[in-house]
């Protein structure tokens, strides 16, 4: 099957993206986030940070149906594809939104690949407003799909899932666990017995992260042992594309914020944007960001319309995105001068989110190694 020329960006999806962006413009998520950070700043003495998200905003998003964009109609969702989900992910990144939506979208695309009763059930729960995340990493943080530190035996889980994104915001988790028969995927819920959430103290202010420690937790099977790896592999292009879209959106914000600052900040009797040492690096952020954006749209479209090409396109998108996260963060902070490294400036909030995203689901090197196998 071949891709439509317009990246699948039809009227519906354009409208979805626009409406979502307008909603977030009104919310200004960082202003809501700030109070939750108070007292946590000091790296030596600061208080523990809760996994903040604005619950009212989340309820409104549920009412507007955005949580269920990628849930199939059979499970009570809207049944849109990755092009639509990617449009949302890009805006989430652009507004640095703390939200259970990011991981829930990831979960949808993984669950859709599993084609099991358990998976369909969990998709239905998402449709009713419950949130889900992925617990697939071992301590090494490798993306090798067989690297979990959790064991499955007779319906219970033991061990630890590491680097679980937004864990404090979520109702349920999809856990990758090993057994004699190979990797399977299992559902556990946040507050059930045998599941302990141990929050990480992380750099990123807009997400939270935790270890999930399982001590004989009852787990519902989403995907039988031995089928977890193919399931994760099939969903991987979607996961890569969603995180790359988040980076692209955040980079676009970094670009515009830096260009805007360069127009107003005066030094040597001129706006600093007059100087090529400022102007040209900002242009380079744009060139790099546009490359990532185009590769992201292409990857989303490939997943929906040309699945055979989806892996190649997704590795391209995340490879480019990882470099964009790094470049846009470096330049945007540098060109903001002293302001750029203050806590008060929003530019630092994005910088921290970006260097977190840069390494999620595999860094650039890893993407390119996988890509080379497909060429």
């Amino acid at each position: 099957m071949s891709q439509p020329k317009d990246f699948g960006f039809n009227e519906d999806i354009s409208m979805l993206k626009e409406t979502f962006a307008k909603f977030l413009t009104e919310k200004q998520p960082i202003n809501t986030l700030r109070p939750s950070l108070e007292g946590t700043e000091d790296p030596y003495h600061g208080a523990t940070r809760a996994g903040f998200f604005d619950k009212d905003t989340w309820q409104q998003m549920i009412q507007l149906g955005w949580h269920a964009v990628a849930v199939p109609e059979e499970q009570g969702g809207i049944g849109m594809g990755l092009v639509a989900a990617t449009a949302l992910a890009e805006e989430i990144g652009r507004f640095a939104l703390p939200t259970p939506l990011s991981t829930t979208l990831q979960a949808c695309f993984l669950l859709r690949e599993l084609k099991s009763a358990g998976a369909d059930q969990l998709l239905s729960q998402i449709a009713t407003g419950e949130s889900v995340g992925l617990a697939i990493y071992g301590q090494q943080g490798s993306l090798n799909t067989d690297s979990t530190d959790v064991m499955h035996d007779a319906g219970t889980l033991t061990g630890t899932s590491w680097y679980v994104t937004d864990a404090q915001k979520l109702d349920h988790f999809i856990v990758a666990a090993n057994s004699d028969n190979g990797i399977g995927l299992f559902k556990v819920s946040a507050n059930q017995p045998g599941v302990t959430l141990e929050p990480d103290r992380i750099v990123d202010l807009t997400r939270d992260q935790a270890c999930l420690v399982f001590s004989g937790a009852q787990a519902e099977t989403l995907c039988e042992p031995g089928h977890g790896e193919p399931g994760l592999k099939a969903a991987l292009p979607a996961l890569l594309t969603l995180i790359a879209a988040d980076i692209a959106g955040a980079a676009e914000w970094q670009l515009q914020a830096t260009a805007d600052y360069a127009k107003v900040r005066q030094q040597f009797d001129r706006p600093i944007g007059f100087f090529q040492a400022v102007k040209h690096p900002i242009v380079d952020i744009m060139i790099q960001t546009d490359a990532t954006r185009s590769l992201v749209y292409n990857a989303a479209c490939a997943f929906d319309f040309d699945r055979d090409d989806a892996s190649r396109c997704a590795h391209l998108a995340k490879s480019s995105a990882s470099d964009t996260a790094s470049l846009a963060s470096q330049c945007s902070t540098q060109l903001h001068g002293g302001i750029g490294f203050t806590w008060e400036a929003d530019i630092q909030v994005y910088h921290k989110r970006q260097i977190h995203s840069e390494f999620m689901f595999g860094d650039g090197n890893w993407q390119r190694a996988k890509l080379a196998e497909l060429i």
Partner: protein, 401 residues
């Protein structure tokens, strides 16, 4: 890969193009053609390429969508198909690339009815080869500082000065000429002319490039007489007209025929193949993870350029009409340069071998091509100037002048 949904007429025309190009592909030249149209200097090549272009025009692959009164074929929505098929068929380039790529869009937008009727048809047939007389020795990046003077004397103009980097100047019948009618008005004192190269006051002298090629020229204009009917647009409107011509050069204008050469995707694939075929330190270069990583970084950029071009036409996500098109020159030329340098690295020591060395990979095309990429990053608005334009026009930053 993406595809347009074609209507019946378009589908039929596409089939025609493929069949015609398959059947009419010209045979080889006696000596190999240069890599690009702007390097053609041999008379053999001129004749060969002119005949080929004329043939393509007769078949309807050039000027496909233009009105019949200007020599066009009068169709609608078929030019892009013809151009894509010419590109895909990897046939020789069209020699009259300046005529097709610059004179045609300029005259369509700014020419008189007479100028269009007179000048367009012989461009399509390559009877009139065109060259461009914008740059001067003292006016490169700062094009508007050009000094060649135009003095009105009755119904004609007298031109004095000199131009540089004039591709095809040695073959051309006509030149797109910028000259200064007013010394006291930098941007508003320039007028745009169509200059006959046959004028006895014009001397053309080849410039040798670092590659050893000599497709560029200096052109000296000494008391050259140009009738006022050969002026384009108003007196003093030359800068405005030239900017629209340069925009066409940057690919944002209306196409009248593929100019082509090899696509970045194809060149990238060739470099990957080169890496697979080149053995060093006991294994292929492709089997070295570091080289593979460098190749994939480059591959990522070539793919991004393709997806960028695709996104240009999708309004919901293109970030504004000119944001991506204005990037294409700087990105394209820099990608090409780094890609060719990467190819030299893949070849290692054997990249030292040049054209006509019996052991040179691909007859030395990588070293030749690498050096020629500097034409791309320097002329037609250098990468530095492009970044100014992007910062100012797209991002709204203050003008660095």
């Amino acid at each position: 890969m993406s595809e347009t949904r074609l209507n019946n007429e378009q589908q039929e025309f596409q089939e025609f193009c493929r069949r015609w190009l398959g059947e009419n592909r010209p045979g080889p030249t006696k000596t190999p053609l240069p890599q690009a149209a702007y390097e053609v200097v041999d008379e053999e090549h001129r004749i060969y390429l002119s005949e080929w272009q004329a043939k393509c025009y007769q078949a309807g692959l050039i000027a496909t969508d233009l009105p019949k009164e200007y020599g066009g074929h009068g169709h609608t929505g078929l030019q892009q198909i013809a151009s894509a098929e010419v590109h895909r068929a990897k046939v020789p380039y069209f020699i009259n690339w300046i005529g097709l790529g610059m004179t045609v869009p300029t005259l369509l937008a700014h020419g008189t009815e007479d100028q269009k009727k007179t000048f367009l048809p012989p461009i399509f047939t390559a009877e009139h080869i065109w060259c461009q007389g914008f740059s001067e020795p003292g006016a490169g990046s700062d094009l508007a500082s050009l000094q060649t003077s135009a003095e009105k004397q009755g119904d004609h103009w007298v031109i004095n000065g000199s131009k540089v980097w004039t591709s095809l100047g040695h073959f051309a019948q006509w030149m797109l000429l910028l000259a200064r009618d007013d010394k006291h008005n930098k941007y508003g004192g320039i007028t745009y002319f169509l200059a006959p190269m046959a004028d006895p006051g014009i001397t053309v002298k080849p410039i040798h490039k670092m590659t050893g090629e000599s497709g560029f020229n200096e052109v000296f204009l000494d008391q050259v007489k140009i009738g006022d009917h050969l002026r384009v647009d108003e007196i003093g409107a030359g800068w405005k007209v030239a900017m629209s011509t340069l925009t066409s050069e940057r690919g944002a204008g209306v196409g009248v025929g593929a100019v082509a050469g090899e696509s970045p995707r194809l060149v990238m694939q060739q470099v990957i193949n080169l890496a697979k075929d080149t053995i060093r330190n006991g294994k292929s270069v492709w089997d070295d993870p570091i080289w593979r990583d460098r190749l994939m970084k480059m591959y990522e950029r070539t793919e991004a350029a393709i997806q960028n071009a695709r996104r240009t036409k999708v309004k919901a996500i293109n970030g504004g009409a000119m944001r991506i098109p204005l990037q294409s020159k700087v990105s394209g030329s820099e990608i090409s340069q780094e890609l060719h340098h990467l190819a030299l690295g893949v070849l290692g020591l054997s990249s030292s071998l040049y054209t006509r060395d019996t052991h040179a990979a691909d007859d030395g095309k990588w070293a030749l091509g690498y050096m020629n990429t500097y034409t791309g990053t320097i002329s037609g608005g250098s990468s530095e100037i492009q970044r100014n334009i992007l910062g100012e026009r797209v991002l709204g930053m203050p003008k660095t002048k």
